[in-house]
Amino acid sequence: MTTAAPPQSRQRAETAAARAAGVWKVYGSGEAQVVALRDVDVELERGRFTAIMGPSGSGKSTLMHCLAGLDSVTRGQVSIGETAVTGLSDAGLTKLRRDKVGFIFQQFNLLPTLSAEENILLPLAIAGRRPDPAWYATVIDTVGLRDRLHHRPSQLSGGQQQRVACARALVARPEVIFADEPTGNLDSRSGAEVLAFLRRSVTEYGQTIIMVTHDANAASYADRVVFLADGAIVHELTSPSADAVLDTMKSLDRRDGR
């Protein structure tokens, strides 16, 4: 189905790729109750690169997990494209992950037993789909891994591993790619390569990416940055510079300190 379709384009940017409406996430109960998300409303547009930022404990990871259907919400609604995520069964979630969502994690992204190429094609293989050869070639060239395809993850550097993970997320052309601190474990040069690649896939191929990060420099690659503090959205910036992001973060820290 999506294999035959052209890359998602900006024409559909009006409909949100992912949406949270009145989302609460509460852990524990009574005295020990911790509110991770309080009444979060957010729409993340198609074809854009959105960063979710915030100090640690702000709930940014929780928000992403809830949006991606990895975690359940206490109250409110989450949807990806036309699909309501809230209330899906495990089978439904599995199908959602197969068809509409791609993931890039901070670490443990790849299966050590499979080669880079096999790792990239794994989601398609699991879903029982064949890759579109042209698109596959494009992705491989974009991430610059053509000569590393038959290597095992243990034979790749950290940056290369993350680029394989990016290629894997991209090759299935999901509606949304969720990236959880994708550069958290990388040195700045490798991190920059990965971020540049994510940026390109949004700009050139219209991919939707939602990235959680605490790194202002990483956030500066995004079209839009959403700031969380104490489980609520407190601010947002559009096409910010790294400095602007840093300033906002500082002000959030001050707010926290008060």
Binding site: H65, L70, D71, D90, A91, T94, K95, R97, R98, D99, G102, F103, F105, Q106, Q107, F108, N109, L111, P112, T113, L114, L122, P123, A125, I126, A127, G128, R168, D180, E181, G184
Partner: protein, 847 residues
Amino acid sequence: MLRASLKSLFSRKLRLTLSVLAVVLGVMFVSGSFVLTDALGRSFDNMFSSSMTSTDVLVTAKPTIDVSELEGESVPGLLTAADRDRVAAVAGAGQVVGEVQADGARVVGADGKVVTSYGPPRFGGNWTGETGGLRLREGRAPAAADEIAVNVLLAELGKLKVGDRVGVLTTQPKQVFTLVGVFGYEGGLPSRGPVQEVRFTEPVAQRLMLGTPGAYTSISVTAAAGTDAAALRDAIRAALGDGYTVQTGAEAAAAIAGDFKEALAFFNKILLGFAGVALFVGSFLILNTFSIIVAERTRELALQRALGASRRQVIRTMLVESLVIGGIASVAGLAAGVGVGALLANLAADMNKLVLAGIGVPPAAVLGAFGVGMIVTLIAALLPAVRASRVPPIAALQEVAIPDRPLTRLTVSGSVLAAAGAGLITWAMAADGDTAMWLLLGGVLGAFVGVALLSPALARPTVSLLGRLFSWSVPGRLGRLNSGRNPRRTAITAAALMVGVALITGVNTMLTSVEQSLRGNAAESFQADLIISGQESPGVLPTFDAALLPGMRRLPGVVSVAAEYNDQAVIDGEPGWAKAVTDLPAIVRDLSLPTVAGSLAQPGPREVVLDDETARESGLSVGDTVSVRPTRGEPAEYRITGVYQRVEFYGGYVFGTDITAQMRSQQPSFAYVTLASGADERAVRDGLTALLADSPEMLVENQTEYLDRQLGDVAQLMLMIQVLLGLAIVIAILGVINTLAMSVLERTREIGLLRAIGLGRAATMRMVTVEAVVITVFGALLGLVVGAGLGAVMVRGLADDGLKELALPWAQMGTYLALGVVVGVLAAVLPAISAARVNVLRAIAHD
């Protein structure tokens, strides 16, 4: 430090339970068999000493043929009335009773069939009154020649009532008696042990059971008032001289009980053998568990090392842990063993009409349980402990990465051990007796350990090859890759299964080869159209009336009926068997026996023919004489008139009919019937069966039916071995569960990742299942190869003993392979469920 490690040990409850279970099963077998044999042994003691309550001194003749339990039956010598009178003349002798008792009184039950026995004797004897605890329950003692009394057990089994006319088969053809009495024993017992008893009047007992008028098998003496049993024994011994065994009642009881205990000890050895298999397989599981625990705790151990623990301390803690596990397992195993032993003892007592002398826990059970349980655990833990001590302190600071150590050393030592094992087995085949058994045991053990060491090297290629079968699906391919990840762990898990499958396959290969060799030879040379032979009958060879032979020969279509008589004899100084035949030329023709020397005409009086191998071994040839001592009558010299070539199922000394007069039974036990071409086999069979109406134990069969029945025992033996070795497979399953549970735990993050990129629950379970199946099929394949190899080595070793063909039990081997798949699927159930339940979020969360 110890407390810290024990704490972390007990936090791994499931894994501990699984490995402890393996030891518990083995220990249970060990202690259970000791408890069982102890309880039965004491019960037999009680039974036999109660049978001697009215005997102060027992006199028996030295046996005519004296052989051990395993070589066959000893043939007791006979005493005469003159002996009895001499005993009675000894001062201090009170009541002197001549007793007749011999196995082989087969009673025809109300249903017209012979009351069978699964092994215990069916004694026929003389009525000697209510002595030795015997109590008449119904009717009266036999007084006339056509009257008998039977024990309650036999009356119940045969559904016989006082007043019935009852047929009894003895050394003579069936004779009919009136049942006048039913007796039991003190304490309300229906019999003394599971023994069927028929009591005749004395002359009848002597004629039918011993074939010798006036003979006794023992003389029971009570001491006159004031005479000591031991003193009386010495006096009688002095009066009788050589050739007699004179014992006090207590000694005699102990001697008889001793024979039973020998049989029990043999039984005990078999049980211990299976316990050994269980523990051997279990030790793989423990070894694996400890390896896993060490791998899991690398960081913890490295931290301890960094904090100053020495290598020796690390080893010591690991070993103490293993002793704790071994101790717990031994206690649990001992408790379970006492329970199982008591249960089995009660069952056995019930079945054998024994009064159980109470369940005790013999020291052997306790020593065996703890010795075996702790030592096996300790040995299995040694290797992982040493490995644990080599964990460098730096490992505490790094990501845990177990370096892929080269397998060269393992592979080399494995090859050497396996080769040494094969060598020992080959050597064992040439040796004999106990030496052979120990060599064989050592060889098999060496081969197993060798192959187990080789298996990691074999695991990689085999597993990747096997895995290709599953590679058509993504979960299958992932599962296959997972099983190839840790070849040591895969191999050791598979090794446990390998041992069980190899043992079964090895035994099966031997038995199949035996069967094939027999059938092959039979098809080549067995020409007899019909065979008359007796059904399986412990203690005695069933016979039929020799007087029927002329009638058989007169049946239309019958060309010849060659009857064969069998009895034990001492020939050329060696205890063995003698056959006497009515028509040697017919047998030579029916079995296609080639003549090697002399003539194979029917042997005349004092003439004998023998096979070439026996002739070679004894250095005998045509014209020589050989001394023969039959069971009844005096030794005599026989002249060798011919030598034939030995075949698979025919060999030994063959006499003419003159010797039958000195056999215990003068009736034939076997006959080869040759039919004219075009004869109506059906009609002849019916005719023969009708003639044999009074010999309900005899069967008329054609060649195929006869062989099938003979080989039926082989199949039954096989089934029993399979059931017992099933235990090894159960333990192997525990091992697979253990390994898989570990794999799932280690790969929680990976599974989470896979789930995140769209692997469904069912597919996750499939992945784990494939991993399990690849491991178990690998184990089963190894087992099949090793088992077939062991079997082949043994068959080759026995080639000289007539085992000419090596036949592999393909059908069973296929079954075992399928079993491997089933075991894998079963073992995967729990780990697969836990893998499917992995929480995606928790698995990928970064810390």
